[in-house]
Symmetry: C2
Subunit: 644 residues, 2 copies
């Protein structure tokens, strides 16, 4: 069954024209605390200010002022895509204003929009890097210039603003529309048959079409999607797959090339497929997601195994130590996966989003919200050097979180994701509401036929596996509350307390449904088993053969060198997990039994096999991966060798 809900306008980052599920936006779901609520507060109070400050000091916002006056070519600072960070900052501000209604942020947003507006040229063109005397001509470097990419982010910002403050008089939507009109004129059916080297314009245009109702933007998005794979971009050392120009989107079997580009394109293609009812394209994207998740995704949900081109490797090529797993690729993966979830309602998509949120998105920022991982390695061999807070770091220095990068796409991407996170918690269909992510929250919405849904969620998840839904209003007619039971949660139970009677039943992984005319005070309680578990990799993932990972609930755990004292070790390379041992919980932490590896080889490291049999064992604590490197430089590994 597919619903049509064009009349709805949720405050959410993706609002397809139709689909199995409709997102509940910020007005309908509010995260009120807990794991994600705490991070949203840090994001709103610290990260956004930090980003705003760096955009000033790095010159990326002042570029707009220079563009509005003169002298930009010599004085412009930053990489060719720096405009986009300003737009992602605007998007983050928009969601945060939607979430908190903070007048200070409103003031900041308006000030930034005014500076951007001043830099827009009369015909709608907007980019600080091209088109002025001394600069390259407009659209002269589609492979690397990122002009359309930047505009895609501008459109997403304008969409976020319009969804959270419809009809605001700040002018952002008008800026976006003028730029989009120019794009349609330049790159339309009769214009240049070209694409941008970095996908993003597709999702931006499609979403802009949704908030404006202007079909031209959707058509233009479709044109850009369909033009991929026609070889309109120059071939490069890494091949045209780097920018997904190697084959048409509907013919591809898997995501490939640059992992952020691949996911952004897939998200835009989803929007086009759904809004234009293109079943062939939709099925192609589902197929690509399936294979990408089965063969090209880290246990953290991270994607991208190549540093060189920030790209997907081949199937099964998932080195933990050279994992790139760019923060932005994970956000792109969530964008793509969320659209598949809305279209089809498959709980597996919500599982992957949860995994990615806890193990990449939560890993990137430091607890104070002012430093970030750009790359998210699964194995740190050498303790890192703390980033100098006053300098700008190379993008992929994965040893410790850094305040800013020369390529600083990740910090504002994390900010916009966290500020909009309420909109990923729950969805609705004609028969009820689906609770997909677990956080303390309030949910208030009205189903299509007018039935009111109102409940609160209480939980200490993921520290604890109990999720308690308490209904706060009376419903005259039955509706269906669906709760996601993650794939790892075998043995989950559901307890339903309605009007004083209690039922209990087991809940298999997938969506578990409770249909009832809920009354205020009724409770639905889900208990997810949070026992630490051990996972082995598919034998084709060569890089982690003979290793296991420890997981608990949605969190992947890591062994960190600072926790190895009991084993008499100082480096994760010195220990292996003892054969047959099972990780356990004690004092609120997860522990494993390890033993020292025999490391007695001489000058040449290849020869007869050595056994660990007989070496002493010790119990050591693990940390949730997202907490690693918060106690200073260390070595770390998610995949722990099994002693033999």
């Amino acid at each position: 069954m597919t619903m049509h809900f064009t009349t709805h306008a949720p405050q959410a980052p993706a609002v397809p024209a139709r689909g199995r599920l409709r997102p509940l936006g910020q007005g309908e779901v509010r995260i009120t605390g807990g794991f994600w609520g705490d991070r949203q507060v840090v994001n709103g109070e610290h990260t956004l200010a930090h980003i705003g400050s760096r955009l000033e000091s790095e010159g990326w916002l002042p570029n707009f002022d220079l563009a509005a006056s003169e002298g930009l070519d010599e004085r412009r600072r930053g990489r060719e895509f720096s405009d986009s960070e300003v737009y992602k900052y605007l998007e983050g501000l928009s969601w945060e204003i939607g979430r908190t209604d903070d007048p200070l942020l409103e003031e900041r947003l308006r000030a930034v929009v005014a500076r951007v507006a001043a830099a827009q040229e009369p015909d709608g063109y907007l980019n600080t890097r091209f088109g002025r005397p001394g600069q390259g001509a407009r659209w002269s470097d589609l492979e690397w210039g990122h002009e359309l990419y930047c505009l895609g982010h501008l459109f997403q910002a304008a969409v976020a603003r319009e969804r959270t403050r419809p009809g605001a008089d700040d002018g952002l939507l008008g800026i976006a529309r003028r730029a989009a009109d120019l794009v349609c004129a330049e790159f339309g059916v009769d214009g240049r048959a070209a694409i941008c080297g970095h996908a993003e314009i597709e999702v931006g245009l499609a979403e802009l079409s949704r908030v404006t109702g202007d079909r031209r933007y959707l058509d233009q998005a479709r044109l850009f999607v369909e033009r991929h794979g026609r070889g309109t971009l120059r071939d490069i050392e890494w091949g045209r797959k780097y920018y997904q120009d190697d084959m048409p989107v509907r013919e591809a079997e898997v995501l490939r090339g640059h992992a952020v580009r691949a996911n952004y394109l897939a998200a835009g293609a989803m929007d086009v497929a759904v809004d234009t009812r293109d079943t062939g394209l939709l099925n192609a994207l589902r197929r690509q997601w399936d294979r990408t998740i089965a063969r090209r995704t880290y246990i953290t949900g991270g994607q991208g195994s190549h540093h060189q081109d920030e790209a997907f490797g081949d199937d099964w090529e998932l080195p933990p130590d050279r994992a790139y797993s760019e923060t932005c690729a994970s956000i792109g993966s969530i964008m793509f996966t969320w659209r598949l979830l809305l279209a089809g309602g498959d709980a597996r998509h919500a599982d992957l989003i949860e995994r990615t949120l806890y193990n990449v998105v939560a890993t990137s920022p430091s607890p104070d919200g002012r430093a970030f991982y750009y790359a998210n390695t699964l194995h740190q061999r050498v303790p890192g050097t703390p980033a100098d807070p006053d300098t700008t770091s190379p993008r992929a220095s994965s040893s410790l979180r850094a305040p800013w990068f020369e390529v600083s796409c990740c910090p504002p991407n994390v900010a916009r994701m966290l500020a909009s996170l309420d909109a990923y918690v729950a969805t609705a269909d004609a028969e009820g509401v689906q609770l997909l992510q677990y956080a303390p929250a309030t949910v208030r919405t009205v189903l299509d036929d007018g039935r009111v849904v109102a409940f609160d969620v209480a939980t200490a998840y993921p520290a604890d596996g109990r999720i308690t839904v308490t209904h706060v209003s009376d419903s005259d007619a039955p509706w269906t509350l669906s709760l996601r039971v993650p794939a790892w949660a075998t043995g989950a139970t559901l307890r339903i307390v309605t009007g004083g009677s209690t039922q209990q039943r087991s809940a298999d992984p997938g969506m578990v449904e409770v249909r009832h005319s809920f009354r205020a005070g009724d409770v639905v309680q889900l208990d997810l088993p949070m026992v630490p578990r051990v996972s082995s990799p598919d034998p084709r993932i060569d890089a982690v053969r003979g290793c296991v990972a420890v997981e608990r609930g949605p969190e992947v755990f890591a062994l960190e060198s600072v926790d190895l004292a009991a084993a008499g070790a100082t480096d994760v390379a010195q220990v292996a997990i003892a054969p047959g041992t099972v990780p356990f919980e004690r004092d609120g932490r997860v522990w494993a039994t390890v033993q020292r590896l025999p490391l007695g080889r001489g000058p040449w490291p290849y020869g007869e096999a050595e056994s660990t049999a007989g070496t002493a064992t010790a119990e050591v604590p693990l940390v949730p991966y997202h907490e690693w490197a918060e106690r200073g430089p260390s070595t770390m590994r998610i995949w722990i060798p099994e002693a033999r």
Copy 2:
């Protein structure tokens, strides 16, 4: 004991002022056939002509003609270092002329030298990329410009020519000297305190000093070596270690950064250390080699685990599938290791050279000598696409050998190595001759005190482990014949037949010595055990945990998908080596017993462990790694999982 042999002028690529061993050059050792002799013939007959033809068609040689006339800035073709390929070609021609005295090659060499000479500026400057109207100023981009790097290769070419044809009237040595004089003036003690972003000038200047007797060049080489690690080059994303400007050479503990740069610098630093009697520097380089071999070298001898920066990874970071193992890095490693061997006489250095020759240098070129690997992966996951013979390939497309690359350093590097290989077979000291590499050969030399050494080597090595040394002249006084027993050759035996009497003894790994007044007809016969063997990696080499490699003699073997029919498999990812099985020989091939892996996982590749217990086994042949991909596209792996 250290000898001094400045009066000797071997026809060899490295002739230190002193050391434990003196190289025997082309005039003293001649490879007469076999594994390497066959490759030398292909190199001389096909590879050099192929390179010469590509240097013309790519415009890299015509750049010199343009430089001599006009219009270079617009019409110059090739990367900033393309001049160096012309010089390596000249070096290769020089060694090949030394080896074969081929008049056609002599004519070619002279023609190329004349074109290079015409491009040299009056003050000695020589580079087609800088210094002319419309080009960058001389020395204006030391990080990436490669001007000094190119000159280093020019000097090595001039040295090869002077050693093989002393006093030739072609002018090459004069070109080199004029350029070297300019370098000394520009970069001397009172000049710019700068280095080149790619080491090579150091080894070039030191060797030029040796053939000319001009001490200034050695002093300048020393200055360049000592200036590394002073941060005179700009910091970059990968850090200054990329070009070994992160710390002084004498303070480093290991090779790091770009693997070719690191080895070339180490070779140049060795020349400086030996010729200036700098024991501290020499010991530092020994230490670096030890750790590099113990922790940063592939089982093939290849080095460099990062594609991104063509660089060494951290200790133990040796992924087989993302192995870069650049052909040129191996040649640099041989240059460095050979100098250590000459200085100290340690058989381990000859072991590493042998390993690298058989498993990287022999792997790069195709049997016809007209296609090459630039990167030498140890694991190919996806069958490659044959390179288009008419185009130029990206450098690291490791799937199949390609005729030429945009960065084409490797083909001429292989050519100069093969053409000079006779000079790596044997050395001498005051008491005798050391036979280090095994090939059918003649050895004729005179020891310092006038004792004549003359013997022939007969062997089918590495197909067979018997090496037969037959003396062809009478010696009045005893001298010592030393034969290298490789570290893997436990159980080797030596048979000595002198004047009709026969002795037999066991020969432990290292150098085995036979001292005798050899007479014509005396025979020394070494039998190396060539039984296939299994090697396991140090447990810290995470990427190949749970795998073994099969070796036989100096050759590393590989499993190739085209050989898996008996196992019912089409891809090396489908099989593992059966537990406890031992590889064996049959019909001249090496075989292993494999079994199918259970590959039944669903949509998510992490979960419960699966066992191979009970699946059927099959015997499949392996190929020497250097022969892989000679039967068309395939998947391949050196490290084979062990079934559990």
